[in-house]
Subunit: 352 residues, 2 copies
DNA sequence: AGGCCATAGTTACACGTGTAAAGTACGCGC
DNA sequence: GCGCGTACTTTACACGTGTAACTATGGCCT
């Protein structure tokens, strides 16, 4: 025994009012007491600072922490450090990436590898400023959000709240914050180019409304642009995910004179529904009409004819996003692999 | 001006080391300074304690907070209070509820109405104890997790970490923590009962593997049980979401002697694929074979024949879960409406 | 022998907040 | 005039952590 007077706070916890039999979650002081060292030493050991600590006490501290199931208090740690290791992702319902749960799962793993914790926040607070206010309360180290929410005002508020890294995602036009240029139009361009190369001279584009409206609009615009370069006309078909919404169009297309030779649907579910309706009407896919979707819905691969579609390499995107956030926090630029990772892939199957 | 010597901490922030041009996120002290009052008064005003504050200073404080865009530091608040207002939801990939994003969106809103913040945590840490350790660091007020992760050890660890409310979800057999008895088998029972009432004498059950394996197994078991009460046999069909997986079964069913008169698929996507294959094989749905799924996938409503399925009233479930968490935190029991809200609804369309 | 460095541990303080307790001014009744 | 409640405001402390600065103890070199 060396010394015994390392009472950081002598008395145990005693809430001034009630203290309703709190189960005494262990603090670093408890670990210190048990290991017979000071709290500072515990901290040095557990955070593996370069501060010298003898191997013997190191082991004792580790053992004590283990026995007590000690977990450091993230709040206190964040308060002391001035920042947390939290990466906040306010989830938006109109996510560009389909299969966003897969993306988030990958992102979580990648961030964990970089000593960051992913926390997703619901979209209770839709309007920019009010939302940013709520996010700021958590004092996250980084925020990764859709550009539709990352208005200049929201970004400014977050900056002032001490958020070190703010990463936007969406169309690459903004300049007031680093951006992951995840352009939904890229997939549409890729699909259109494929259909043109395949020989299409007359296109149609399904434009879903509702939650998908914004993404669909961008994609439609891209289709028109690419097709225009080859002097190919594009018929715009606004629709919902219902039989009644698609049926009239398909009815019209039974007449070869009014029929496009290929259709791009900005969402696989709509592509699947369309193919279903086309077959029902006695048309053949892709012989009469080719169909290409976007999103790589698993059902599209299983049905016949199997759906040609575009997809993102989700794990790769998650990797570069996580990497970029880490780099931003460390004062560097975005991951140079970013653009390559964001390029959509064409998945050619049977439908077009 | 009344007094001027309310310097809580006289010197402004000056990080001992670098302080790299921190953009001075405002603290309550800044608000106090600007309003010409003490920090305590600011706190009283902003938290609307029952402590008396004159209307004049109240307005001044509010104005100052507004101008400074002040957002309280959640870490400090949580540290002081001993608990946060965070409800942590470790998301599991094998979520019972389909459309879990819709559920989370609703849950978020409901919790917000009850002064709680929903944070979702990825499933990086799959194994119980290690995961619980990570969750404990955040010192959330409540944790809502799947029973598969809420092992007794994990629950114990969370309890010791000071988490006040731990709510499990899943099969209702556990006793060491309050549970939301969201039984996937209930939907299967409902669907089977419907098919039997409809006159089915020979059933089949699609049992998807992969991520859905566990839920599927439970549902299959339920189907067998309910059918057995009526002496109806159930053919078990293990499958994946691919054409090759379903085709052989459908091929066999072309022979009326080997054909069930109704099929329950524990997931709508599989039901959709099955119908597709049945039609392809020249069989009629529901005349030759009725098909019922679970999950209320929007595509199921759009395709023909429209899919009969089961669904949960997601907003209602979210409401009772949020309500129960709040009640747990306040020392009460679960919301009495719980069981009613969890009952699945039958959505009868064309396929069965 | 005395000065100096390295090692191993400590003390002390700050982070931003909430709130009990103490203080200040003021009006009122004795 | 003095005590006393009332209305407001401030002071003081604790929450749990990380780390700069300090103390103590030897060993080594001059």
């Amino acid at each position: 025994m060396q010394c015994r007077s390392m009472i950081d706070k002598s008395e145990g916890r005693s809430g001034p009012t009630v203290a309703p039999a709190a189960p005494a979650r262990p603090t670093s002081a408890d670990v210190a007491r048990r290991a017979g060292v000071s709290r500072a030493t515990v901290s040095h050991v557990l955070n593996s600072t370069d501060h010298p600590v003898s191997e013997r006490t190191r082991q004792r501290v580790l053992a004590a922490a283990q026995e007590l199931q000690y977990a450091p208090n993230a709040s206190a740690r964040a308060l002391r450090a001035g920042r947390s290791n939290i990466v906040l992702v306010p989830m938006s319902r109109s996510a560009v990436i389909p299969g966003q749960d897969e993306f988030l799962e990958n992102l979580d793993r990648e961030l964990a590898d970089r000593d960051l914790v992913l926390l997703m926040h619901g979209d209770r607070t839709t309007n920019g400023a009010r939302g940013a206010h709520a996010w700021a309360e958590l004092r996250p180290a980084a925020v990764y959000l859709d550009v539709s929410r990352g208005t200049p005002a929201a970004v400014e508020l977050l900056r002032r709240a001490g958020v070190q890294a703010i990463l936007l995602t969406g169309v690459p036009s903004v300049t007031y914050a680093p951006t992951v240029p995840l352009d939904p139009a890229a997939a549409a361009r890729l699909a259109t180019q494929h259909l043109l190369t395949r020989g299409s001279r007359r296109l149609a584009c399904l434009v879903p409304g509702g939650a998908l409206a914004e993404v669909s609009a961008r994609r439609h615009h891209a289709v028109v642009q690419v097709a225009a370069a080859d002097n190919v006309p594009v018929e715009r078909v606004d629709c919902e995910l219902s039989s009644d919404s698609i049926a009239p169009v398909v009815g019209r297309w039974r007449d070869p004179a009014h029929r496009p030779d290929a259709v791009y649907a900005s969402n696989d579910q709509f592509a699947i529904l369309l193919i279903h309706k086309l077959l029902e009407a006695g048309l053949e896919v892709p012989q009469d009409i080719a169909v290409v979707g976007s999103g790589d819905d698993p059902l599209g691969a299983a049905l016949r004819p199997a759906l040609t579609t575009t997809s993102f390499v989700v794990p790769e995107i998650a990797r570069v996003v996580a990497s970029s956030i880490r780099r931003l926090l460390d004062g560097h630029d975005l991951d140079p692999d970013m653009e390559a990772a964001l390029r959509p892939r064409l998945v050619i199957r049977e439908s077009g």
